[in-house]
Symmetry: C2
């Protein structure tokens, strides 16, 4: 095994993403010491039982002190508090990174609280599941997934390179872009999809003509797919929408405009236009499969249950 | 093996659903003779290569003649033509059923063309994948999935019972409701979900600020899930929207109303209301998993790819 990329890694937050970083860093020797922090004593105890780190604390400053790389893995609404808490404890030359789904806001929240000589290199591994908490993580989460790195203007090239190296070590492909562009791209590839999934699940639960039991029974017609991302962590997603408001509202405006056009095509029976759209969308999925971002099996590879006896 | 439920089964159309019926009927001995019909000689040849039936024809009347049970497995826009073609060939006592995703329209299209003594017992197995064609079917498709049977007023009880028996033999759970109620339930559990999936994939493909390549690379943030159902058969789905227009427009109206409220909550920073919705939606997914309609594994059980060497 080569020398680890990082002597001491501080993880602020140990949920799905934080605990996956801990696992992959351990499994692939990316850090010599992993300092785990989370606010809640119960969650910290669970992380310790899972042996996710080498030291444990409920104090962010404790995990940040002497760390070469500190990764913030909490909901994006909590960053300012974390930055204030860790700022005074950071050593010169330390790098602060993160995993947040929004980048413009986190730069604004974090940068003002960091001491001279410490760089903030924001990162967003585009990977996850609908489960949360330290038990939900796994070492392979980042394999073959993209991690977007969004260094603010003036970030040290060396800090950027080391952050990229760390994420490659975790299994990610890395792309660099501005925080602003990241927030637009993720608004359409992640935030608006989550919003409309949450929305349709909410709509379906409140109909008077169709019961909740019917919605559940007949969900295999398409609805159940939406319930997966609508089962994601509520705090994380509340914060995403509040902190990427402008880009989400812009992309949502496009979505609604297009949906209104589709609605009109249905009302006026314009079958050719519907057919044309439904044909184009097939190609996008093929592209995603070819890009290695989706499995090439029908129905996400979900297996049908075993046949019942008799009949 | 007990006596087969059906002496001669006529399948009009041999795509994903028709070919799955052929496979399960053969595997579980549900029919003594399977007569396969499809319009296109090439598709018929593929069905024959797959040995899906006992006899093959491009003429619907040929498959319907002497059949005890004829199941229409074509897009719902093509039913009237099928009904006209098979009507004169049907023997007294025969049952006509189908698998269409819309029920009110198919009753109107089929019933006027059936001879005296032949019952139409519409059915909709709520099961499928995004693949299509005779190669896409498999015998286990209906296992543990619901099949909704929607007999029009005045249908013979014996015909209803035999149709239900056949679908139970295929592995389905059966529920009976009116065609009108079916169309409302499926509008929210299947049709509107497909429409918004098609729509967001279309929106994403047409942005000037975000490239198609970026959409594909970063699709693991949620977007890729929508591309699955947006890769479904275009002809089938065009017909669904044109033939269930009223219910789709009604449910789409509810969806849009709720989405506008969410949009406003984001604009005005009403985090508590977002959090409240995002918490409620988790319970719906748990209900679907407990109802046996979804697997209990994160990320639909999609496996991460194997780790890359090095790092």
């Amino acid at each position: 095994m080569a020398e680890p990329e990082v002597e001491r890694l501080g993880l602020i937050g140990i949920g799905l993403i934080g605990s996956s970083i801990a696992r992959v860093a351990r499994a692939r020797g990316l850090a010599r010491h992993i300092a785990v922090q989370t606010r809640t004593p119960d969650t910290l105890a669970r992380a310790e039982t899972l042996e996710l780190g080498d030291s444990y604390s409920t104090d962010p400053a404790e995990a940040a002190r002497d760390s070469d790389l500190v990764i913030i893995c909490v909901p994006v609404g909590a960053y300012e508090g974390v930055a204030k808490a860790i700022g005074p404890a950071l050593k010169p030359g330390a790098i602060v990174s993160d995993v947040g789904s929004v980048k413009g806001s986190v730069v604004q929240q974090v940068v003002p609280h960091l001491p001279e000589g410490v760089d903030f290199v924001p990162a967003h591994p585009v990977a996850g599941t609908e489960h949360s908490g330290p038990e939900a993580g796994f070492a392979e989460l980042f394999d073959n997934r993209w991690c977007i790195v969004t260094p603010p203007n003036g970030t040290e090239a060396e800090a950027i390179a080391r952050t990229i190296g760390f994420w490659r070590g975790c299994g990610s492909e890395v792309e660099v872009m501005t925080p602003e562009h990241h927030d637009l791209v993720l608004a359409i590839t992640s935030h608006v999809p989550h919003l409309i999934a949450y929305n349709i699940v909410g709509t379906a639960a409140h109909l008077e003509q169709v019961t909740e039991s019917e919605v559940m029974k007949f969900s295999a017609g398409g609805f159940r797919d939406f319930t997966r991302i609508a089962a994601s962590d509520p705090t994380m997603w509340r914060d995403v929408f509040l902190h990427n408001r402008e880009a989400v509202l812009e992309m949502l405006g496009r979505f609604t405009e297009d949906l209104t056009a589709l609605q009109r095509q249905i009302r006026y029976g314009e079958g050719d236009r519907l057919y044309e759209l439904f044909t184009r969308t097939r190609a996008i999925r093929r592209g995603i499969i070819e890009a290695g971002q989706e499995i090439d099996a029908p129905d996400f590879g979900r297996r049908p249950p075993p046949p019942k006896s008799g009949g």
